[in-house]
Each structure stands twice: as C-alpha cells, then as structure tokens.
C-alpha cells in the first residue's frame, strides 16, 4: 500500500518537474552539425528489440501473469519477498538503498539496478551473467539471500493456486501433473552443494527435472514479458531532440540542461559508453570506482564464466532461440573489474548509483567523473576516462541534463499487482 502511495507521489513530482521545465524561459544553444548528429543518436527510443529466446515476450496474457508473479511474495522462502521488494515501482524499480534486502533481512552483495528499459539490455546483471530477461529472473527466485525459494516449491505453488494455474495454462498449455511427491519433492533445486534440496533434485528422473524446468522457465518468461512494458521514454530531452535546431526545441529543456547535453556529447565524453537511445552501450567498462569495501569484484570476468555455464542461457534447451551474440562470448582479460553501463533514462529517480550503490546522489557520481579522486592505481580505461575538472556550474548543467531524461510516467496499472493474473 505504502508503495502505491509513494508511486503516486513520485508521479506527481515528475509532472511538476516537467511543467516547471516547460515554463522556464530558455534560449536554445547553437549546436554544431556534428553535435546535432550525435544528439540524434540518443533519441527517440524505439520499441525494445525482439527477444528470440522467448516466444511469449510480446504476449499480453503472459505479461499479466508475469506482473502478478512480480508482486507475489509467496514465491519466497518465508512469504516475505517479491521482486517488487527490491525493484520498487515508485522508485524507478530500484530500491533507494545501497543494497537490496532479501528474505530474512539479508543484504545483497551488489546494488539493486533499475528495471526501467530492462528489455533493451543485451546482457543482464551488473556482470552480464544472463543473456535473456527470463533466464535472469530464474536467479533471484533461487538465490538464498533474495527470494530463497526453489524451482519445485515454485512449480507446486503455481500448480496449486487456481488463478495462477489458469493463467499459466492459457498461455503455455497444460501444466504437468506434479502431485506425486515421490517424483516431485516439495523442495528441490540443482544447487552445487549437498543440501537436502540438491539431493532431492538428484533423486528425480531427468524427464521430471525437465518438466519442472519447463514450468519454472515459462513462469520467468511471463515475468520478462511484463518487464518489456516497463519502458521509460518520451522525456523532455526527447522533445528537445525531436525539434533540435528549431525554436520549439528551446522550450523543451532549460538552457542549463542544454549546456549539460553539450558536455555529455562533447568534452565529458559520456556518450562513448552511455550511447544510443537508451544511453547505454549495454557492454562492460571499468570506470575505476574508488574501493568501497568488500572483496574485489571481478565483474564481467566472472559474469562471462557464469553465463557460459548457465543451462538457462539462450543456447540452452529452454530457450526458444539463441541470441546471436552468445556464440562469441569468451573470457577476455580486460573484462576484469568491468561492469555493465547502466541506462541513464529515468536516472534522476533511481539512486543510489553504481554496482556498489556507493554514490547517493547524481552530484556524487558527477564529482567522481570530474575529480577522479581515490581511484585505484591500476584500472582498465584510464585512457578514456580522464579527470574532467568540471566547474560547479558545469556540474549543475550535467545534473540538469540528466534530470531531463526522466520519461513520461508509466501507466498506473503497471505499478501494482494486477487484479488477477489472467
């Protein structure tokens, strides 16, 4: 409930911000032809690219089921965690804290990323260890510090619960009969250990394991169909870019945001990684963050190995089609310490920032790029991420520009559990 209220407040705040931007008398900067070409690379944001690995990706019935699962805390070890516990709709589907809080109050090791524009990703997680949104969603469900559930528990629950079962069968066809507890234990998952769950999984026949994996991945395919609808677009910046060079554009974003845009595509070099209409190249970079405690995180290096070993990657049995890039994934030395470039659409509402969540505000992120203070001595991309020495007013400008990337509010009905999964 409080989440709903919060979402409404956030929505109201966004519209106030937009109208303020629209009324402020602004002059258009003169952009050069090459600046205009680059600015146009960032807008508009089209529909998400197709997902060949999920043939239910565009199915509205799958999306409604997925939306209902997204908000359903029964799919966790203690009925205490749903996806929306950490990906809070009113906070841009992030959680406003440095770490996520999973089942039993445990903290996640990395910061909770926004799910805005998730469907535009090529890789999922900060380290890209999943190559589809549906295979991504299998992981939090079984992660002991997130949902802490397991695929047998999940399949049983879905098959017991009449409205979920009905919604499932409308999209995916009949659910297998899981009632024989000797064949389908209450709890089981192929965890790489000797836990009771792992032993229970090994006791199952390959065919029964397969049947359960099919149900499990169908459910997460439904979740990913819902995620495709969580799109942040039509920002003030897009209205500016659509008319750039004309007088209408001048009123779309304040002059300060225009100066910030110029820095973003110019001296700041931000657009090298935060490229294209989603302001992300979807790939991995080492920005040389100051150490924020904990073990060294190898980022993409470890993510690559996990992706290649994942039976749910898009080359696996449960995928409806391989994603072409998967074939060419291989551990590359310079990927150690690299993390996925996050989208910047909606970024003003999704703090704290970075995979560590170590920066509370956009200003802190910008100061990091500006001063490069406390960066580790050895790091990958020192050649391109240089100290930028922004002045205070330049920092204001960049911040104003990032603010202008807040999209049109999402329809209210996407921000809560649907009345029914069907």
């Amino acid at each position: 409930m409080s989440q709903v209220t919060f979402a409404k407040l956030a929505t109201a705040a966004i519209s106030i911000a937009l109208s303020a931007a629209a009324t402020e008398p602004a002059d258009a900067l003169e952009f050069t032809d090459s600046e205009i070409r680059i600015i146009r690379q960032h807008s508009p944001l089209g529909p998400p690219p197709p997902d060949p690995s999920n043939r239910f990706a565009e199915d509205p019935a799958a999306a409604r089921l997925g939306q209902s699962l997204f908000f359903d805390a029964r799919f966790s070890a203690n009925n205490d965690v749903s996806c929306a516990t950490c990906h809070i709709p009113g906070l841009g589907f992030a959680n406003g804290a440095q770490r996520g809080t999973g089942t039993g109050g445990q903290l996640t090791t990395r910061h909770v990323p926004t799910l805005l524009n998730n469907a535009y990703n090529r890789w999922f997680f900060w380290d890209g260890r999943a190559d589809s949104a549906w295979s991504q969603a299998t992981q939090p469900l079984e992660n002991p510090i997130e949902h802490g559930a397991d695929r047998l528990q999940i399949a049983h629950l879905a098959s017991h619960t009449p409205e979920i079962r009905a919604a499932y069968e409308r999209v995916f066809g009949s659910m297998p009969d899981l009632s024989d507890r000797t064949r389908f234990p209450e709890h089981a998952a192929p965890t790489p250990d000797v836990s009771p769950r792992a032993r229970a999984w090994r006791s199952m026949s390959v065919a029964d394991q397969h049947a359960v994996d099919r149900v499990f991945t169908n459910l997460t395919k439904a979740i990913s169909a819902y995620e495709r609808e969580i799109v942040s677009r039509d920002s003030a910046f897009d209205r500016f870019a659509a008319n750039i060079g004309s007088h209408e554009s001048a009123s779309a974003i304040p002059e300060s945001a225009q100066r910030g845009l110029r820095l973003f595509v110019g001296r700041g070099n931000c657009r090298l990684c935060h490229s294209g209409p989603n302001f992300s190249d979807g790939e991995f970079h080492d920005t040389a963050l100051p150490r924020s405690g904990g073990l060294r995180d190898t980022g993409r290096w470890g993510g690559t190995r996990r992706l290649l070993m994942d039976p749910f990657n898009s080359g696996g049995t449960f995928s409806d089609g391989v994603r072409p890039v998967l074939r060419f994934v291989a551990p590359r030395q310079d990927s150690s310490g690299a993390f996925k470039t996050p989208t910047l659409r909606g970024v003003a509402r999704t703090g704290p920032y970075m995979h560590t969540g170590q920066f509370k505000t956009l200003r802190e992120v910008l100061n990091f790029y500006s001063t490069r203070e406390n960066i580790p001595r050895t790091h990958g991309e020192q050649g391109i991420i240089r100290r930028l020495d922004f002045t205070e007013s330049e920092l204001d400008d960049l911040e104003a520009f990032l603010e202008s990337l807040t999209g049109r509010p999402l329809p209210q009905e996407l921000l809560t559990a649907p009345p029914s999964p069907e």
Binding site: S34, R37, I38, R271, L272, C273, S275, G276, D281, G282, E283, F284, H285, R300, P324, V325, R327, F328, V329, A330, R332, D334, S335, G380, E381, Q382, G383, I384
Partner: protein, 192 residues
C-alpha cells in the same frame, strides 16, 4: 578514398600485379636474409574511409548508383588492402554491413592473395588503443579456402578509433622465413 580502393582492387586482379608477385617470389626464394620484415605492419595501403559517412546514400560502397562509374562494378568493394613489404601476399577486407554500425554485430570478408598456400590468416581481433581495451566478444575466423575468409562475431561497441588486426602466419613456407612469427596487419577504422 573509396575510389582509390576500387582502383587498387581492380589493378590487383590484373596481369601486372601477378607478375610483380611472381618476381618477388623468385627473388626472395629461401634466403632468410632477403628482406627485413617487421612484426607489426602498421600502415594500410588504403585506410578505411574515416570517419565513415553515416548516411548510406552518400556512401558509394553501399549505393553504387550514387557514382555512375561504379554502377556496373560487380566485384566486392574492399574497405582497405595491405601489401606485405616483400609483395608476396596481399590482404584485403570489407565489413558486412559496410559501413560498420556502432554496437551491432558485423562480419568481415577477407581475402589473402598469395601464390603460397602456407600463408594464412590465423586470427583476427580489434582494439581501441586510446581506451586500452578491445572488443567484448571473441570473433570466429572461418577459412573458406582459396585465400578467402569469413570472420563472424565482430562488435565495435563504442564510437571512436578502432584498430582491426589480422595475424598472418607463414606456416611451413620457406618464403619470408624471417617472419616465421605471425605478422600483425593493422587497419584503422573510425566510428562516429
């Protein structure tokens, strides 16, 4: 730029070029001291037109009718080619699609022309020297025979200056023995 590349590709098919290669072969023979070779051959004969035009209609290599003299030209248009210092082999390539689209998978057609079958392309990769990193993927090299190669899994995920490398190995050949180590041919590509 493009016109110059075309001219070279055509001339290369001609008798003149074949004769030059033939002469060099006989000159170099098996004498390892015959010709110094560097391990990095940094200068392409003709660099990729760079920065590439982002508007396909102004790029003759994707729109031959834009230039009448190219309209009937049916050979593939190479982006660039490189001739080994001894002239024993030549390497040329074209990206597919051409021009390369930033952050989208592309392929490369490459041709290594030499009368010595032991001279082969053994690897392809790319780097951004200013960024101190390369591609995020590992491309696959397919030897199609007759000196033709297809490279898949190329991805230039960022705008900027890229170096595209081909490693050329001389196998068991006695030609250019000094270069028993693979030579690295570098082409420059700039994306906006």
């Amino acid at each position: 730029m493009v016109l110059e590349t075309v001219a070279k590709s055509r001339g290369f098919h001609g008798i003149g070029a074949a004769m030059v290669v033939g002469m060099l072969l006989s000159l170099v023979g098996c004498d390892p001291s015959a010709e110094p070779t560097s391990t990095e051959l940094a200068v392409p004969v003709s660099p990729s037109p760079s920065p590439r035009s982002t508007n396909p209609s102004t790029n003759p290599s994707t729109n031959p009718s834009a230039n009448p003299s190219l309209a009937n030209y049916s050979e593939p248009l190479w982006a660039a080619e490189f001739e080994s210092p001894t002239g024993v082999w030549r390497l040329r390539y074209r990206p597919i699609p051409d021009p390369i689209v930033r952050n989208e998978l592309f392929e490369i057609d490459a041709e290594l022309v030499s009368s010595d079958p032991n001279i082969r392309i053994t690897a392809v990769d790319a780097r951004m020297p200013e960024h101190l990193h390369g591609m995020t993927l590992r491309p696959e090299l397919h030897d199609l025979g007759d000196g033709r190669y297809r490279i898949e899994g190329m991805l230039f995920h960022m705008a900027g200056f890229w170096e595209l490398f081909f490693w050329v190995e001389h196998g068991a050949s006695c030609i250019e023995q000094k270069a028993a180590e693979p030579q690295r041919v570098r082409f420059a590509v700039v994306l906006e």
